[in-house]
Amino acid sequence: MKKILYSILIAASLISMANAADEKASGIMKAVLGGESWTSMTADVKLVLTNSRGEKRERELAFYSAEDGKGFSRLLMRFTAPADVKGTGFLTLETASGTDERYLYLPARRRISKISSSGGGGNFMSSDFSYYDIGKPEYEDWTYSYLGEKEYQGHACHVIEALPARSDILDDTGYGKIEYWIDKDAMHTLFAKYYDENLAGLKTLEVLDYFREGGREFAADMLMVNESIGHSSRMTFTHIKLNEGVDDAVFSPRFLQMGR
């Protein structure tokens, strides 16, 4: 009888500790993701892709993002370099149904095409970043557990495990788990590990620099490495303008094809 009582007490205390750890993790992630954020942004983006042989390709893009009046995100990107892809544009509009509307303009075809998403998050412009990675993550999409404290490049970090809160998040992102290394002082992500739906390691993210303005923060220099295929992508944002508004007309097929 005593044994059973002890077991129940130990189990209850473990559950209580786990709940406390989860609450701590959730609190940290709420602070990281729920802080003062941006509703619109324009920037120039440089994307450097490096394959397993060390061959590099550089892409430059104009980037426009803003929420519509209903809180749905809209994103338009247009290549500005190199010359052979200049003018290629991509427009994505988040909808209430959960399926994004996506349009592609290829100057070589002189035509706008409605395109489907490839599922699993879809890679951004053949890079190692998914469209989800470059968007603004929602706190509610994940459940959090506290894994402990570790040091990352001299910074004391909270290590937090995020699991998809719903099956559609798993379907949409392709991530079965993400581990975040959160700088204890700055309270932002320094490093992250992404796992696929079978919890096999997928890729790692290193945030090299943040852009700060008026209490808002934005990961402006990121390196994503996919070790399984030896490919990496570095994305650097410059000329960032946060919350200065973007004309609604930008997020339209008309503006998309102006890259001609």
Binding site: D84, A108, S113, K114, I115, S117, G119, G120
Partner: protein, 407 residues
């Protein structure tokens, strides 16, 4: 003359840039190409193209494009030497809700991915099929107005001068429609959406860009008498509708066009019958590196009696030039696009006519060698009975290689 026009526009751009402080940029490419006739072992095209593309703008209301090709094809027989051809040259005026584009331009219609029945404004250049649309489609001089409202877009295109397809013709005299107000082509389109379904309705009044035969009586001086025939371009009206809807990793697309000709009762074998062309397609993004497009298309002739058509052709002694087509034809096509290796794209396109049993295949591999430099190699195959559309071109099987440096 067109080259002179372009050079004039380019000069105007440069002058206005200097005088008005507007922004202008020069882009373009140099492309070395080799097209080898698979059967004869001879080059059908071998040379280099240099393209200059001036773009500029004056504030947010005025922009212009002037693109010119300088082609030197050593395989052309007879050799025209250096050919200077305009690609596009237009001025765009933009206001809050209106775009007005004036000049030589591409205006492509239709939402389906590969076969577009409603895409009738720009003629085809069947002698220059390649991986680039500006090679095998011909820009037209047009006034193109687009009016934007929050829920819809309206487009009106006026094309004053008729431009025909470039196609191997039978050795017959050819008559082009005269350029006058009565022969001005008009295209109207209304685009909108319902929920997540984009759709549009279109109307085109103009000419069939593929020539048809005109009967000019019998030549009784010859024994036996032979018909006097010539090629001409018949008037057509087209009504079209299309849609596209995305469902996760699928996009369903459809397009239909109804062509109305001068053969009102369907009894004249020299004039194409009224017909409906329709396409239903599915784009499937299997992954970021692999996508599939499948399409089923069909054509149905209206007011058509095949036996009667045969009899009329016999009566006209025009059997060498005309055949009585089947009432309904259909085709299946598929396109696979894959990133086979890093920076390498493979595209396979296959079209199969179910009724005629002929088919067409295009495969090409494009390697992004470095930023702005690409190498593309491809194969083009036609197959089928000699009388079928693709079978007629079965001696035109080609393999090609292109190296392109963009700047």
């Amino acid at each position: 003359m067109n080259g002179v026009t372009i050079l004039g526009l380019t000069t105007l751009s440069l002058v206005s840039t200097l005088l008005c402080g507007s922004e202008m940029s020069l882009n373009g490419y140099s492309k070395a190409y080799a097209y080898l006739d698979y059967h004869s072992g001879e080059y059908s095209r071998l040379g280099n193209r240099f393209q200059t593309r001036f773009t500029g703008d004056q504030g947010s209301h005025l922009s212009w494009v002037a693109a010119l090709n300088y082609d030197y094809d050593t395989a052309a027989d007879p050799s025209p030497g250096l050919e200077i051809r305009p690609v596009e040259s237009y001025v765009n005026l933009a206001w809050q809700r209106v775009d007005l584009t004036l000049g030589r331009q591409f205006v492509f219609w239709g939402k389906t991915s590969w076969i577009n029945p409603s895409d009738v404004i720009n003629p085809w250049d069947y002698a220059h099929i390649s991986s680039e649309i500006e090679d095998y489609r011909i820009p037209v001089w047009a006034v193109n107005t687009q009016v934007y409202w929050p829920q819809f877009t309206f487009q009106a295109v006026v094309i004053p001068r008729f431009t025909p397809d470039v196609i191997p013709y039978p050795p017959l005299p050819l008559t082009l429609p005269v350029t006058d107000m009565n022969n001005t082509q008009l295209a109207l389109r209304f685009l909108s959406w319902i929920g997540q379904t984009d759709w549009s309705l279109g109307y085109y009044q103009g000419f069939n860009s593929t020539p048809e035969i005109r009967f000019r009586g019998m030549n009784m001086d010859l024994v036996p008498p032979v018909p006097n025939l010539e090629l001409c371009y018949r008037p057509i009206h087209m009504l079209s509708a299309d849609f596209a809807r995305s469902l996760s990793s699928f996009t369903i697309k459809g397009e239909a066009a109804c062509f109305l000709t001068d053969d009102k009762d369907g009894r004249d074998p020299l004039i194409g019958n009224d017909r409906i062309e329709a396409v239903l397609g599915l784009d499937w993004a299997l992954s970021d590196k692999l996508s599939l497009t499948a399409q089923a298309s069909g054509t149905s002739l209206l007011n058509y009696d095949r036996e009667l058509e045969r009899k009329r052709i016999e009566e006209m002694h025009a059997g060498d030039y005309l055949t009585a087509s089947p009432r309904r034809t259909s085709s299946l096509s598929a396109m696979v696009t894959a990133e086979a290796l890093p920076y390498t794209t493979l595209q396979l396109i296959h079209v199969f006519h179910r009724d005629q049993g002929d088919n067409f295949s295009l495969a090409f591999l494009s390697w992004d060698m470095m930023d702005g430099v690409s190498l593309t190699g491809g194969l083009l195959f036609f197959n089928g009975p000699a009388s079928s559309p693709f079978g007629m071109s079965r001696n035109a099987d080609t393999c090609f290689l292109e190296m392109k440096v963009s700047f």
